[in-house]
Amino acid sequence: MWDLIGLLVNTTVFAATLRMATPLLFTAVGGLFSERSGVVNIGLEGMMLIGAFTAVAVSYFTGSPWIGVLGALAAGSLMGFLHGVASIKYRANQVVSGTAINIFAGGLTVYLQRLIFKMAGVSEAVPRIVDVELPIISRIPWIGPVIGRQNPMVYLALLTVFAAHIVIFKTVWGLRLRSVGEHPGAADSVGINVYKTRYIAVTLSGALAGVGGAYLSVAHLSRFVEGMTAGRGFIALAAMIFGKWNPIGALGACLFFGYADAMQMRLQEIGIPTQFVQMMPYVLTMIALIGFIGRAVAPKASGQPYVKEG
């Protein structure tokens, strides 16, 4: 019994949980901005992938992984903006546009990888963002080993969650964002620019997904691997829903999914197939949607193009 508890609850696993949750956090918060504005973004996976590749390419040419992260942010923003142009201006079906981005990203990253690194599969190793040790905190028992020595991007992800919470729920722009996602017509009638708000939100979602991807390639690893996001964009989407479209909820979901990820190997040792652990985020999200853990409800205007009258 104690063995099992020791297996499930220990600082090594919790530290790994944070690392696994980080790319999901950036991306889930990104998805949240987009959906709160009324634009469904299933292109998160592709945006992450492009971010992961851009970060490596930029880090390779500049020697700085941080500039790589900025590059990922820019590339992700561009993809988000494109999704915005399709779904806001040209009233595209948002799911189709997102699917297009996912397929495009899969092709583009490998295409460019073969151009730049002259090989398929994996890129060359590039400089990565190294872990830092926080003074004082790292010496606190229990807490220290979990959060005291981590990658700077892990801290950045946590900050992003709280910043997003403040922006969405405590600022005027956040109020506008939410109103645009719930009742675009009403928002428009009180003078809120629906299109502009949506453009900003979708672009921001791409930017954050790009950074989430960058974490995988220049912080967690130090190279790009073909298809390295491996469905994390969709897990982030699930986390956003499981967290009921709010940042703190998404944090909880990402930590939980990250924990499952971190436990995979250990659970396999006691006879639980990894595939069932990997399946869990999706099964749980489904259960959450059915309403066993409190019904998850999407913003009302989510998925619908807004056409200004007159």
């Binding site: 040209y90 546009s97 699917t99 495009f104 490998v110 295409y111 073969r114 469905g231 595939q275 399946m279």
Partner: protein, 347 residues
Amino acid sequence: MLDRMKRIPYHVVLAPILAVLLAMVVGSGFILTVGESPFAAYRVLLQESFGSMRGFATTLQRATPLMFTGLAVAFAFRAGLFNIGAEGQLYIGAFAAAWVGFTFTNLPKFIHLPFAILASMVGGAIWAAVSGLLKAKFGIHEVINSIMMNYIAYFLTDWLVTGPFQGSTMIPETKRVAASATLSRLMPPTRLTTALYVALLAAAIVYFIMWRTKLGYEIRAVGLNPTAAEYGGISVARITVAAMAISGALAGLAGMEQILGLNNRFIQRFSPDLGFMGVAVALLGKNHPVGIVLAAVLFGALQTGAAAMDRLTSVPRELITILQGVIIFFIAAEYLFSRFLKVKGEA
């Protein structure tokens, strides 16, 4: 016939063609970055996929599973449902076909093969019906729930082929299916099989169901306006589940082609996004069986030509994936062309 052709609205045919052309222009930009001539690259591509009988057979082979997934997505579309879960349904259908194929080894071919084909349809249909039920009973959007169902299907089949049904080797795949459950090749050495006939038959059946039966009428009514359909006495819930199940059966057939025609066993994660490409095929084909068959041939040709282009020019084969993404993007943003098309149409 000609009379009928005239009644097809202009933009239905023109918009997809414009999307493809525009995507090729974007693709040219990518080709130029590697210092090749777009004309030369596209010529190599077309020569490979249409220039010889053998090439054309490969094009048709590549097109076959896309016809199935295209029909699957379109069928659900007509009911107003976005079946992005075709990929997962395909995996479940494929596994069902493989299981029947390697389990019942002493059946004669005329029983075994239809049995395996039927199994793929049932597998896909059940998986999709779950999505339909979740939508109808709990109001969970089919896009979200079928994305979840996709991943559950991936991991479930991952487990099946690395655990209980792993073949004799350490490779994550099942045993080979019995010869009595494999589709006959039409033009060896190409891998074009009678699955093509099944696909064309499926297209005809989809047409028949959609425009010649009560069910099809109800599906289209729900797709156009669920509220009005409900008032008209149609059970939207029943139609939702039925449309998803039929859509899933079609997606399962795509998996069937991969198992009984191409690979002869279930290989872990064998599908090169066939389900998602189905979305592209359906949209490009305007959700009409004839359009879908043509769109699938186009995508099959792109994929067939990709390898030759990679070999004979310095353009990486991934250009084709980029092109496919861009085509979908332009199709999605069709409104982009709408003004241009309207002006044309009125002229």
